[in-house]
Symmetry: C2
Subunit: 242 residues, 2 copies
DNA sequence: GTCCTATCTTTACGTTGTAAAGATAAAATC
DNA sequence: GATTTTATCTTTACAACGTAAAGATAGGAC
């Protein structure tokens, strides 16, 4: 209770002081340097700086290296500063995951829009899903592997829902039908679950290195992309009644 | 180096003192009780007791609660005792994961053997995969979600390989062919990757609660098993040339 | 110009993993 | 059978972590 109320106050304040924060953000970010001596007491936009520092730490040192104190060090502030902006480690990780889901969703939407045929749209989105995870394994870990995610946070809840809704929409498009909001047939649900499971399972196994045994046995170093393509192309489901 | 050499010594010793350890294991395990006052300095089979304690802690408090000190408390020994048997936390977690993979594999093999038709064998194994994860979510987390796994440990390496080899064998059987050891066609590799990805992805999403949105939109509380069945039955791949 | 409030730092505490040294009992050797 | 060796377990210690609480600072409101 005390934790959240404290952070809620911060959130309110951040919303209220939006103008000053933006003004500070327009300046060159040299004042962030701790070594230069002129470290001002007020940072300007520390919240954003901490999130960027967190992503750097994450991709450099992995999920285990993502600690509140390491992020604070990376940003050049005291170790307790992040607590003020995110409440606790769960808060920081959750906000980072929300950013990840948004980037994730944008990549899939962009990939889908680059194709015209519905089936190709789905294929391109699936490849974008895997490509994002390969390019940002740390972020993918935060989104799908971290034990410290608080989905009651609006930002994370919305970003996560949006990503999966986009995936569902893609499945509907490749089936030439619109997925309804309320009711779902078993066949539709199975199609959605199949698409999610295939692409998410493949990504997880690939990032964990559990597909290397297969890739090594393929002719002349076939890439993971090629395997993914073959896997997806062979997965055209049968019509419902067959 | 110092760490492993220390633990290697322990391993050697355990192998050498197998007879006494077994003799101690035959006695009733009342001496483990700390409250009863008569705590002997030597436990008898502390290694096994620690692994069982670890599984209890894991399923009770989750992956985050699985600490060396918590396991030691659960077993009623000093906090540094586990270090002697497993080197460090990574060692304990890895041995626990190895046990999980063995149980996992046994469940799948047993399910496959309960059926006669090849396709039904695969379906039953896949369902056993999901059922094990639902029954032991903590163990599944240790196997597939923990950042502290050391696959260079022979026990974990072998158990993990055996589990995935069993899965591969199941895929081969359902395709009415034997998967070769060395070379693999792209079509065969895709079939294996598809089976792994489908069942592993579905399990991960289900345990993370990300399928509840789908399950809630299905008619009258359709179970996850039903969704899994529909998903798998619709996933019969097309023949290679089509 | 003064007060208020958000922001950031300092200090402190309990928990963790891990190392190192000490205590104890079982096994090995003579 | 006594002694030495070795494995096992405990005690002590330390750095890093998350988190709480209090203090310092500065920007904005009045």
């Amino acid at each position: 209770m005390a934790k959240t109320s404290r952070e809620n106050k911060v959130v309110r304040t951040v919303a209220r002081t939006r103008k000053p924060a933006r003004a500070a953000a327009e300046r060159p970010a040299e004042r962030r340097r701790k070594s230069s001596g002129d470290t001002p007491y007020h940072h300007g936009d520390l919240r954003e700086a901490l999130l960027q520092a967190a992503e750097r730490v994450l991709e450099r040192d992995g999920l285990a290296g993502l600690t509140l104190r390491a992020v604070a060090r990376e940003a050049g502030v005291s170790h307790a500063a992040p607590t003020h902006h995110f409440g606790d480690l769960t808060g920081l990780v959750s906000e980072l995951a929300a950013i990840g889901f948004r980037m994730f969703n944008e990549a899939m939407v962009a990939a889908g829009n680059s194709e015209t045929l519905p089936i190709m749209k789905g294929l391109a989105s699936a490849k974008a899903y895997v490509a994002y995870a390969q390019a940002h394994p740390g972020m993918y870990g935060v989104m799908f592997r971290s034990a410290r995610l608080d989905y009651s946070r609006p930002s994370l809840h919305e970003a996560s829902d949006a990503a999966f809704a986009g995936l569902t929409r893609g499945v509907g498009a490749s089936r030439h039908e619109q997925i309804p909001e309320d009711g779902l047939s078993l066949d539709q649900a199975a199609a959605i679950a199949r698409a999610w499971s295939l692409v998410h399972g493949f990504t997880t196994l690939l990032l964990d290195g559990r597909l290397t045994g297969i890739l090594e046995r393929l002719p002349e170093g076939t890439s993971a992309d090629k395997l993914l393509d073959a896997m997806l192309r062979g997965s055209v489901p049968r019509p419902p009644g067959a």
